[in-house]
Symmetry: none
Subunit: 97 residues, 2 copies
DNA sequence: CCACTTGTGAAAATCCTGTAACCAGCAGGG
DNA sequence: CCCTGCTGGTTACAGGATTTTCACAAGTGG
């Protein structure tokens, strides 16, 4: 998809062939998001896929990791926003900015 | 229905497959309207479905959110008017302009 | 030790919501 | 015509809710 390639089997995400240095959690989150492009995913769904089980009521893990992911994606692909926030609901991955 | 798809379960409204960035209230209102196409819905009905309960005597919330909704729909679908005003009564959703 | 990751708390930034205006259009009465 | 009242469209604003970001403690493995 464009300049970004995600290869879950290889535990890798590449931008223009160069691997991003993502942590395990960051990669899991990116994989989960990118497997459902253009679909708005709730925090519950994302938490279940990445961490498993249900998040605590006041758990902000998803938000924190989205932030970390955006920071690294932003470095590799300046000016593009791949992860969109949907207030009160969750996040959405859009391959094309 | 044409280029607009509404998926309440997914918290999404799509135009040509692209999700609109609607707030929760805006989406609720659009869902309520679109679930009764071509039917004129009173402010009371809409308020009950979206906010619950009865509106204050001078409540303009429905009008304000209809306006906001029209603005966003108008951006995504220029030249089409999906929400029609029925003076003294309420609003009507028409899938085809 | 050191470098790194992870989850948590909390401050900072941002967005949403409901309300109160302000306007324009219209109809009826005088 | 000119008021007046009524209806709906739109915008501005304050408060609240939500999200983003930073800092830190604990854990892991080299």
């Amino acid at each position: 998809m464009g300049r970004l390639e995600i290869r879950p089997e290889e535990h890798a995400a590449l931008v223009d062939g160069q691997p991003l240095s993502l942590t395990v959690r960051e990669l899991q989150l990116l994989v989960s998001l990118s497997e459902h492009p253009q679909r708005i995913m709730t925090r519950e769904e994302l938490f279940a896929e990445v961490w498993g089980g249900h998040p605590r009521d006041d758990d902000r893990s998803v938000d924190v990791y989205v932030s970390r992911l955006r920071a690294k994606l932003g470095e590799a692909l300046p000016g593009r926003r791949l992860i969109h926030t949907h207030n009160g609901i969750g996040y959405r991955f859009s391959p094309d900015g």
